[in-house]
């Protein structure tokens, strides 16, 4: 960007709001079983909380909160968790992504509920990592 002149009030309000947005986003991810929500919605809100600091304080200072090299590995970790749950179901004896056969103890509906939770966490991590990675890549070549 051209010269970045930061404003004290904007930085103060953003620094105060960002942890609360992240907390509410985690609630949306984990409460997706009982209320509207789930992985995609919570992951996008987490990415918005990180982007708020990047827009308010500049990319240099915002690396203290979320370093730039962490974006794509988080995305890969999310995809790995999703595929890992499917393959664990195959290890337990069922078909791919058949959560009733996960190698843990419990009735079939409880195991399917646990499988849905793991899959939603994976999707949330992937969406967070990739949205921040796209944002950083699009702003990279503009003269930092």
């Amino acid at each position: 960007m051209r010269e970045f002149d930061s404003d004290d009030i904007v930085i103060l309000v953003s620094r105060t709001l960002s942890p609360f947005i992240m907390l509410f986003a985690l609630y949306v991810v984990f409460h997706g079983h009982y209320s509207p929500g789930g992985g995609f919605q919570g992951g996008t809100m987490l990415a918005a909380a990180v982007m708020l600091i990047r827009l308010a304080a500049g990319s240099e200072l915002a690396r203290l909160q979320f370093p730039q090299e962490l974006g794509t590995p988080l995305g890969a970790a999310g995809v790995f968790i999703y595929f890992g749950t499917g393959l664990a179901a195959m290890l337990g004896g069922g078909r791919f992504l058949d959560y009733a056969f996960l190698p843990l103890a419990g009735t079939a509906p409880a195991l399917r509920s646990l499988g849905i939770l793991l899959v939603e966490v994976g999707v949330g991590l992937a969406v967070l990592g990739i949205l921040i990675a796209i944002f950083d890549d699009l702003l990279e070549g503009s003269g930092e």
Partner: protein, 106 residues
């Protein structure tokens, strides 16, 4: 040239309005989309999902059960799509970064 553009847009809009008049009324519970058996006699997917989601997965939210359990394969493909888009953005814009770094070191 602009007249042709606007004529095409108007024709497109008129064709869609004419096609939308054949759709059933919005919100009609007896539309073929919302019934219990489809027009071919097979059980209808949305009403099966509504009736069996809480029993099969112990989760009240039907949208999450459909997204992650009944249609989990599609969600896996979609997550791969967003991961590939992130990688493609990085690979496309990488050469500019290298050239900027070379300008700084030379």
């Amino acid at each position: 040239m602009k007249a042709v553009n606007f004529a095409v847009l108007a024709l497109f809009g008129a064709l869609l309005v004419f096609a939308a008049s054949g759709l059933p009324d919005r919100g009609d519970p007896s539309a073929p989309l919302h019934r219990d058996t489809s027009l071919a006699g097979t059980p209808n997917a949305p009403s099966y999902y509504i009736r069996n989601a809480k029993k099969d997965a112990a989760t009240p939210n039907m949208v999450t059960v459909i997204l992650a359990d009944y249609r989990g394969y599609d969600t896996m493909g979609e997550e791969t799509v967003i991961f590939t888009a992130g990688l493609v953005c990085f690979l496309i814009l990488r050469r500019g970064r290298k050239r900027n770094k070379e300008d700084k070191t030379s």
